[in-house]
């Protein structure tokens, strides 16, 4: 059971030392600073396209949205336009809410047995809160890093940094002073959220039961990314100019691997490379998959507008004629209308036999 998260943790620790020792001890800066990142990006892009096009190749034979509200039917009944979207526009709104606000997860409830015999379902918001915090802080962290990949740094990245660093958090004591360079909230939120999501998996028995190593691994990896990042920014410090020259070298195809940035940096970069390369082959593809989920991204006007099934093949059916042929006599006797008149078969004898045996 525990082997799942132990193996995942072990894998991340090993990855850390591979990069740290590789760059620090063996000086394999070109490998960890240039080759592996390039390789990771190529694998990510190719894998991403392969996976999504694989989904695109599969047919959508039926329109099977999950309706989460009143349908559009009679004109005087108020339909729920978002949760039971009748038009493409409404589907777009539903999808935006799903992708950007995790609307379905927002509904989450927790079942418990109360007063001995009452099943109750309470609103359970924490998973939603931390999931949202996790994804958005990760997004901000990624976008902020564009400052290292662009020259000049576009204004919206600078704006984002301003907003992210709005709270000037500085710790000023004689023994410890930190907060310079300015603290970005997103990094701390990311670390907190990923810790919550990890602990939830490890501590709750139900979660531990359903979790695979593939669930722990990305969490440990992202924890490692956030942790090494925060470590470098606020504690061990690195020469940012050198780091940027490496990053700029990558995106302008003039790769360099300057000195002066230590093992932690290469571990950070290696973690990110691993995450990128791992992405298309893992559950992380939910990022793209959520857009294609047929229970969410289709209109619910299934009786109003016909949906085509590309592989709708003919099937054997039991026709009315076959049915009437079998039951004609009984139908006529019961006064039911028939298409072909009933004629008694000539061998009445065998018929009687059949009757008596029945």
């Amino acid at each position: 059971m525990n082997k799942h998260y132990l193996y995942a943790l072990l894998a991340v620790i090993v990855l850390f030392f591979v990069a740290y020792v590789g760059a620090e001890v063996f000086g394999l800066r070109i490998i960890f600073g240039v080759l592996i990142p390039y390789l990771a990006v190529i694998v990510f892009i190719a894998g991403f396209i392969y996976k999504v096009m694989g989904w695109a190749r599969s047919a959508v034979p039926f329109r099977i949205p999950t309706t989460c509200g009143q349908q559009k039917s009679l004109p005087w009944i108020q339909p729920n336009k978002i949760d039971c979207p009748n038009s493409t526009g409404a589907v777009v709104i539903r999808m935006i809410l799903e992708v950007c606000c995790f609307r379905s997860l927002f509904r989450n409830t927790k079942m418990s047995l109360e007063e001995g015999d009452k099943l109750t379902y309470r609103w359970e918001i924490w998973l939603w809160v931390f999931a949202l915090a996790f994804h958005y802080s990760f997004l901000v962290v990624i976008l902020r890093h564009f400052r290292l990949f662009t020259e000049p740094v576009p204004f919206f990245i600078q704006l984002l940094e301003k907003v992210d660093g709005f709270f000037r958090i500085e710790v000023l004591y004689d023994t410890i002073q930190t907060g310079l360079p300015g603290v970005f909230l997103s990094g701390l939120v990311l670390l907190a959220a990923v810790t919550f999501l990890l602990l939830r998996r490890i501590l709750l028995p139900q979660m531990r039961y359903i979790s695979l190593a593939a669930d722990y691994f990305p969490l440990f990896l992202i924890f490692g990314i956030a942790f090494t990042g925060i470590l470098m920014r606020y504690f061990t410090k690195i020469d940012v100019t050198a780091a940027k020259s490496l990053a700029m070298g990558l995106v302008t195809f003039h790769p360099t691997a300057p000195k002066g940035i230590g093992g932690i940096f290469y571990a950070h970069l290696f973690f990110v490379s691993i995450l990128l390369a791992y992405f298309p082959f893992s559950k992380l593809m939910h990022f793209a998959g959520v857009f294609l989920s047929p229970t969410r991204n289709l209109t619910t006007n299934t009786r109003e507008k016909r949906h085509e099934n590309p592989w709708n093949y003919p099937v054997p059916v039991h026709t009315y004629d076959e049915y009437e042929d079998e039951f004609r006599e009984k139908m006529v006797e019961a006064g039911l209308p028939v298409d072909k008149p009933f004629e008694k078969p000539p061998e009445t004898l065998s018929d009687e036999k059949a009757d008596s045996s029945a």
Binding site: I49, V52, F146, L148, T150, Q158, E170, A242, K244
Partner: protein, 129 residues
Amino acid sequence: MNDKKWIIAGIVVFLAIFAFPFWYNMGKAAPAPEVKLTEKAKAAKQCVMPTEYMRAEHMQLLDVWRHNVVRNAEREFVNTEGKTFNMSLSNTCMDCHANKADFCDKCHDYASVDPYCWDCHLDRSKENE
């Protein structure tokens, strides 16, 4: 239902955003700025601490200096080699590095860093000009 074109469009949009740094910097060579030293700084050979340390940790050092001066009224900084300095941005740092635009700003701009030193401290290099 033919939604392939939408899916491909989606992939293209995503990859365009993902590859933003590649096309944004296209055709630009943006080498890291070289720090320009004044004659005085060149002559001093070494800052208050070794260059490697200063490159990565100068903001931390300044933070400690500010704290010690403002909160503890201490003015003296003794470095690892036993040399003593007056803890002052304007009078010690900027004494050598009088060229703020070339010394400070170039790297700060490059790394998109906006230090708040100059919210209070005057940039004397401008006065000199």
